[in-house]
Amino acid sequence: MAEPTVAVEVPVAAEGELLAARQVDLWRAVRLGLVGGLTAAFVSANGMVAAFSERAVLGGQTLGSLLLVAVPVLVGYLAGRPPPVLQGFATPRPGWRNVAGGLVAGLLSGVVMAVFVTLIATFDVRRILINVTPGLVREAPRLLTFGLELGAGGLVLILALNAALGAVAGTLHLLPARWRRAVFAAALWVLGFAMLQPVIVQVLRGIQAELRIWTAPLADFLYEPTGALSVPGAVAVAALAFGIHALLTREGRRPVRARLEPLPERSRRLLRLVVLAGILFVLGLLPQILGPFLSEVLNIAGIFLLMALGLNIVVGLAGLLDLGYVAFFAVGAYTTALLTSPQSSLGVGWIFWAAVPFVVLAAAVSGLAVGTPVLRMRGDYLAIVTLGFGEIARLLFLSDWLKPTFGGAQGIIQVRDITIGPIEIGGPQAFFYVIFCFVLLAAYVTYALQDSRVGRAWMAMREDEAVADAMGVNIVTAKLSAFIAGAMLAGFGGALFASKIGSVFPHSFSVIVSITILVVIIVGGMASVPGVVLASFVLVGLPELLREFAEYRFLIYGALLIFMMQRRPEGFIPSRRRAEELHEEEISQDAGLRTQATMQQQAGPAEDGRNETS
């Protein structure tokens, strides 16, 4: 263990030899400013600003104006950020350059916006860009110039506001990292409270109604009658977030986990039980607190989550890119409808639970039917063929040929509600519990399979199919079992969907469902259950909640996908190993340090190979 391979504290040890610090790059600021300006112009031209202006979010401001001012703040922050410190370079001192970078970027985005505004004020472009409404600049409310006329200071306001916001965002870099993060936390909380107004108001009122805790006045304090976060409310939220963040990151604070470590096993088990009971209690009350509408949103997200967990097995674990996943969803829904609706061609009208075994069976059979012909295909070819299968399934359900069975475009109506004993699960609030149980089951199955013989076979197949085969993994069985496991979870999703809606129609099963589920698992993080859970609530739940977003849903999905692929290809909450794989160069140095530390701990002859093999 002679010389260390990685110098741990270069900056201190070799002060004199460091190269001059790399400073904020002005050209980068210019580029960012232009990109930001174009983005702002784009969201104005495609109607997002106008649509979002319907929702008041903060004081007198709407989501539309928030979108406009977010651009200079964002580019100003990015442009003012010093470049990463490389080994051998000095750390740059924060100073005027950070502010200047932010200012330049903000000003530039303001210039682009000003040009755009002048253009649409001068020429009538509505024949080409139909979303450029007069309300943007020409007539009141003049969204893009914040109410001012162009000549009467509108342009000046755009330039000044953008430059100022950019500079302020750049100034953030003058703060120590901890305070900067606290400011971030405050901003994020305010944004979250402003956007999630319907949820928070409903929760506060729900708590009062259910638990008789006096929380409703809080809602009146936080929000104005327009639904916007009130200014005192925003200040309170920001202060709270700032305080909590500062408290959590104070020096010498030990993480909770570390503090629990020394406790005896019995107390820890007790604590775990208490936490679990608390979570169950909250979840039990959740639908009551949330009310019917939000429960319905939660249910939709839950069904997608169920399917995302299934697709996660197929794509994330087994590495089989299936773009026709909606087919299994459809099979589950139609099986349920056929067996439980008295109006269907079978007309048996069973209860839901009697249909479940048949859903499992039908899903498994359809999994086999799709899996068998694509056994020898990999990667892109597999994706294309499964895409075809998804469409075939939809067209079969729609076809005249099978109309006697599936009802063609009229679908099947009067699917029975789920019953538990004598209780009928009618409303969305009761339905939440059913969906929750199925999701829990799916999450458990994912975890159980991941850490088993079958799961390892899937992963080996994902990594290198030929070698997995040579190492004894029966590729045929492994592929088919992955398809079947995924199909069953999607089948459950379909069954729940059918009984929730009460009817099934072929148009519910278009390719966009497959794509949405795939986006959910990519954005959330492949093979990561927590990531998939978060992503399905954000990507499926949120657009249901904020109707303004629904129209731009796929634009936002697309932008998000591009961003994720560029910056966080492993997803929001990645499974550990994928994060490492995709950020290899960034973490290689850390890994080197870790390895070294571990080897020093193990102290010893590990490096000298001779004596251990003899």
Binding site: S452, R453, V473, R578
Partner: protein
């Protein structure tokens, strides 16, 4: 009867005859080296034996049973395991998981047992884990302890080769095919691996066929040497005999070298 017999094996790739009427017998417990110039068909031979490419004509018999036409996983189950010339691990899986995969064919638990965590599943999982760790412990302290849970990708080159060997051994093979096990290793590591191959055979009784370019290794471990050239067997015997064989020298150095 030999453990492993090849009779008249022939395989064409388009117009190229990679293996040409090859006969080979391997007895139980032998260590055999297959050598030959580049493109002689050595790796193709391994690929044919393990079923990774479909066989042409001829027969391959293992323990008296023909294995032509079986899938690679079935051949492994019968007891023929291999390593690869350009190490092929499952890079994102942990070191331990890599080896556990090789136990796949020796275990039975399916999806249902895994979901219900049946006692038999737990027992089997426990045993798989132990076996994997034992196989890794064969290489001293290099692949055990904290390394169990590191991804295979993070290992050094030599350790990747060791891991590949451990993975092959974990499947309890009767015949082990090693494709250039010492390629890219330094002299000390090469020496160590030579001793290891010997020890492997002595302790587990596994029969070993290896492809090797390093003549010190060939000389050190092999009880018999088979020389291939253009898919044909041009010499066979003890190292000393083969090394002085004219056809072998010609194959390696060219015709002018023998006449000069």
């Amino acid at each position: 009867m030999a453990l492993f017999e090849i009779r008249g094996l022939t395989r064409d790739f388009g117009g190229v005859r990679a293996i040409d009427g090859l006969d080979l017998d391997v007895d139980d417990g032998e260590i055999i080296s297959v050598i030959g110039p580049n493109g002689a068909g050595k790796t193709t031979l391994f690929n044919l034996v393990t079923g990774m490419i479909p066989a042409g004509q001829g027969d391959i018999r293992f323990e008296g049973r023909s294995i032509v036409g079986l899938r690679p996983s079935q051949i492994l189950e019968l007891g023929i395991a291999r390593t690869f010339q350009n190490v092929r691990l499952f890079p994102e899986m942990s070191v331990r998981e890599n080896v556990m995969v090789a136990r796949h064919c020796r275990t039975r638990s399916g999806m249902l047992k895994a979901i219900f965590r049946a006692p038999s599943f737990r027992r089997e999982e426990q045993e798989t884990r132990q076996r994997a760790e034992q196989a890794l412990a064969f290489f001293g302290s290099r692949l055990i302890g904290w390394r169990f849970d590191t991804p295979a990708r993070s290992l050094s080159y030599a350790n990747r080769r060791r891991l590949e060997l451990a993975r092959a051994m974990a499947s309890e093979p009767k015949l082990l095919l090693l494709d250039e096990p010492t390629a890219g290793m330094n002299p000390r590591e090469t020496q160590e691996l030579t001793e290891l191959i010997q020890r492997l055979r002595d302790e587990t009784g596994v029969t070993i066929v290896l492809i090797e370019h390093d003549m010190r290794v060939v000389k050190g471990v092999s009880e018999r040497v088979v020389v291939l050239d253009y898919g044909q067997k041009i010499a066979e015997g003890a190292y000393a005999d083969v090394a002085s064989n004219d056809r072998v020298i010609e194959a390696y150095l060219g015709k002018t070298a023998t006449t000069a």
